[in-house]
Amino acid sequence: MSKICSLAEAIQQFIHDGDTVFCAGFTHLIPFAAGHEIIRQGRKNLTLARATPDLIYDQMVAAGCAKKLVFSYIGNPGVGSLRIVREEMEAGRLEWEEYSHFGMISRLQAGAAGLPFMPMNQNAAPDLEKNNPNIRRVKDPYSGREVLTVPALHPDVGIIHVQRADKNGNAQVWGILGEQKEAAFASKDVIITAEEIVDEDVIRSDPNRTLIPGLIVKAVCHVPHCAHPSYTQGYYDRDNVFYLNWDKISENRDSVNSWLDEWVFGVKNAAEYWEKLGPETHARLAVKPRYAAPVNYGDY
């Protein structure tokens, strides 16, 4: 049974005000188009969870979608500060819950594995543990020494961008894997956005490449260039110029609002957004092919 629908339909159906949303992807495959669609549809009071909020959550916070942030690093990767998020936190207008990267990912792993918590070895750093009551301890029943724990995270919705998926939601990913798999299995509902919708036979020709199985997926959306200004390995490059520009745009709210008006509210969907970027940007982000060596599964 096909799960294909438009991204607008998927957001409409699965994301509700007050939900905890996880837009997955570590630098790679960040589903910006989904974030923009959430902004366009005016969702409010979301809890936004991601290791690195990146520009996608900076934009969603700026647009007033978020009540709370769950994160482990609030920077503009490779550039500097995440200005909107930082300003809202400093002003006391945004709640937050903070972990280390490993704490954050361990929360997802526990959620994905159906465990109530994950243990982590002690790292000697005292202050995050002191300030986050969700970071606790249990005694290792073998040595008697204590290990740290973090509780399972179960987002209401996980949005996962991938290179290719079939209509059932079987999704294949290569390049940086980040926390895509863990976020998908941890979430109650999973929305897949894909650069390409391919025939089932393509997926079945390489089952080890399937990171997310259709059986946990609710919706599959065909969204080419979904990740811009992040990137999709093999499809287009990271738009480092935009990451640098955002540092300037986000210096004041007027320019942020103008940007949102023009690039989010001013376009209908990801296709229009990409079109609007224009041929020069398309050319700048284009990438020449470099193929993986063949792999023979055998015709058993």
Partner: protein, 257 residues
């Protein structure tokens, strides 16, 4: 040689590169640590193995990555794994020899603050937070820090300990059971600080032309000096040439300061 001119970043980067040993597995961040590792690989440590928190092992980037998740790190790498795996199977398991750390504050016992200036719940300045550094500081066998030598960056005590140095002394860190050795060397633009037997940072080397007085002026506590304070080997034109011509030709990280 002594007439070569270089920036503070170049000086720190070159001195950090010299600390790396051939065969080391290094957990690399972007920016200066990335440049230091690549400089070491091109000089005395050709078998250095670089792994990135994004899950990339053995990267062979064709260009200077802006972010730690740049696609150039993936194409041609020897392995890519999930973040859960890189932090658990590599870092927590003890497969990482060296980690690089940085932060807004480094205190007398090598503790690092990358989280907040002021009160945690009512931040005066909200910094990026731990990212991967809490576990790198806890679990890498050796940690190195590069930072400009300024009083505000070297307070006696951090406002918030994001990543552990030696807490209030080496024994306190050891009591936590964290496997890693903690900060081994802090490279600044003035010289080199190392922990003493109690984990307190002391001056062990000065770069050519720098003085203990400069260090004292720019440190937030009464920093002691080792009995013998070395002078670091002068920067060589070979090192500068590799940095400037091969590794960062646009000066993205090395220009300025």
């Amino acid at each position: 040689m002594s007439e070569l001119t270089y920036t503070a970043s170049e000086l720190m980067c070159i001195n950090a590169a010299r600390l790396l040993r051939d065969g080391d597995v290094v957990f690399v961040g972007v920016g200066l640590p990335n440049l230091a590792c690549n400089l070491a690989r091109r000089t005395h440590a050709p078998s250095l193995q670089m792994i990135y928190e994004a899950g990339v092992i053995g990267a062979r980037p064709n260009r200077l990555p802006l972010s730690i998740g740049d696609p150039t790190l993936v194409s041609g790498a020897s392995s890519v794994c999930s973040m859960f795996d890189i932090f658990s199977l590599y870092l927590q398991r003890g497969n990482v020899d060296v980690g690089f750390l940085g932060g807004a504050q480094i205190d007398r016992f090598g503790n690092i603050n990358a989280t907040v200036i002021g009160d945690y719940h009512k931040p005066k300045v909200r910094l990026p937070g731990s990212g991967g550094s809490q576990e790198i500081a806890g679990w890498a066998n050796r940690c190195y820090i590069m930072t400009p030598h300024q009083k505000r960056r070297f307070p006696e005590k951090c406002d918030f300990i994001t990543s552990a140095g030696f807490l209030n002394g080496r024994a306190e860190r050891e009591a936590t059971g964290a496997r890693g050795g903690g900060p081994l060397v802090i490279v600044t633009n003035l010289g080199i600080l190392e922990p003493d037997e109690n984990g307190e940072l002391i001056l062990t080397a000065l770069h050519p032309g720098c003085t203990y007085d400069q260090v004292k002026e720019n440190t937030g506590w009464a920093i002691r000096a080792a009995e013998t304070v070395r002078t670091t080997e002068p920067v060589t034109d070979v090192e500068l040439k590799i940095l400037r011509e091969e590794l960062d030709p646009d000066g993205a990280y090395l220009k300025g300061s």
